[in-house]
Amino acid sequence: MLEISAEVWQAARLTLALAATTTVILLIVGTPLAWWLARSKAWWTEAVATVVALPLVLPPTVLGFYLLVALGPNGPGGWIAGAWGGRTLAFTFSGLVIGSVLYALPFVVQPIRNAFMAIGDRPLEVAATLRATPRRAFWTVAVPLARPGFLTGAVLGFAHTVGEFGLVLMIGGSIPGRTRVLSVAIYDFVEASRWYEANILAAGMVIFAFVVILAMTMIEKRSARLRP
């Protein structure tokens, strides 16, 4: 019994670490990308936006297959891993982070882009007439106004990474403490007919999903009320 809970806790801790790391990276990478997508007038902007949105439609197996090859010794992942003497990024925490970032990208970029677009040109023009540099205007005007978008993006990115399964299954190798996240642990428990543990984890996930969606709705309601 004790051993069981150790296994479960390990998977839960790993999942939280993966989701947190992924979310932080997504906010760092996704914000400039969302800003550019919201402001750019280039004709190929929508093409880039489409590439970002692709994981919404593609089955995780497509990304999983490409990543399995790309992370391996004959792909860029292998070269990077070679820097510290490894030969592949598959089966590693870093590999899972790369996969999760790609897979959850639209869930973070889309809400932030929408929030940036909703601000419009006017507040930024006003800031410019008050001699704010574009950088200053971005940090003091655009980012605070787009706060609900950031919150939504962060929550969705985090939640989606927690709920990810197919991709992790394909590139993870189910190593306890390193790549066996909650969703894979549930799968393994069901496969092994250990339904008691599977039940505990599955019920936990249901509660988690409920809380996330409820929180999202509350955030949106509140920001709608605050909007002038």
């Binding site: 004959n74 592949t88 598959a90 089966f91 190798g173 189910s174 007919s193």
Partner: protein, 253 residues
């Protein structure tokens, strides 16, 4: 966006396709252990050519198949990678007892895509590799056999940190095939027609025999295609194909 006529046409098409699947009486859905994939495809083709019946194959690990069948999955025949799960299905009252038989005895191989890397036990002892791929030992018999082999050689504790687990034998193979793991325990049948790399056929005394049993499920008892497929597996054509893919058979039945 679409006219209601288009939608009606599409719906009619979908229903027609769905009912076609049901109307064809001489069709059986067969759950096949992933290691037997290539052999099963060839057998299904030969079976169709000979009888006109169609065996629709689904591939996966035996563990999940067992779980799915207990939950009413629409399979009529189950080709497991072990003998425990078909036996359990008979005990559960979900399979026809007298239909159970061993269709193949599997062989475990240690395989690498790198020529010369795998030479024998010494490869495992040397530890000149970062990742060793196996399939989930709880869900898939080849995974259990791999663990048993490492334990017989008293190498399990030493190798365990390097193990990566595929959900089934196909994935364990894929990890080696893509080079993400240098070597892995796979089924000899998966290497049929593939001379690349290096391999070590694991001696039989290191693991309990992988007796792969087939069973007719209760839901397929009245289905001529299901019973026919089991019969075909036992017959000379079926046995010949099974041997071609590197499996052993029990003596002539």
């Amino acid at each position: 966006m679409f006219s209601s006529k288009t939608i009606r046409l599409v719906l009619a098409g979908i229903f027609a396709m769905a009912s076609m699947g049901r109307a064809a009486a001489d069709q059986a859905n067969v759950a096949v252990a992933a290691n037997f994939m290539d052999a099963a495809k060839e057998i299904a083709a030969a079976f169709k050519a000979k009888t006109g019946h169609e065996a629709v194959l689904s591939f996966g690990a035996s563990g999940p198949f067992y779980t799915q069948i207990t939950q009413g999955a629409p399979f009529q025949v189950f080709l497991s990678a072990d003998d425990a799960r078909p036996k359990k299905l008979v005990e559960d009252g979900l399979a026809v007892p007298e239909s159970r038989f061993t269709y193949a005895i599997g062989t475990l191989v240690l395989w690498s895509k790198t020529p010369g890397l795998v030479t024998g036990v010494e490869t495992l002892k040397s530890g000149h590799f970062a990742k060793l791929s196996i399939c989930n030992p709880v869900a898939a018999p080849y995974g259990a056999a791999a663990v048993e082999t490492m334990k017989s050689l008293r190498l399990y504790d030493q190798l365990q940190p390097r193990l990566v687990e595929g959900a089934n034998i196909t994935q364990a193979f894929q990890f080696v095939e893509t080079g993400n793991a240098e070597l892995g325990f796979v089924a000899l049948s998966q290497l049929t027609g593939n001379d690349a790399g290096s391999r070590w056929v694991v001696p039989r005394e290191l693991y309990s025999p992988i007796r792969q049993d087939a069973v007719l499920l209760k839901s397929g008892a009245g289905n001529p295609a299901a019973a026919g497929f089991i019969g075909f597996l036992k017959g000379p054509e079926g046995r010949a194909i099974i041997q071609k893919y590197g499996y052993d058979n029990d003596g002539p039945s």
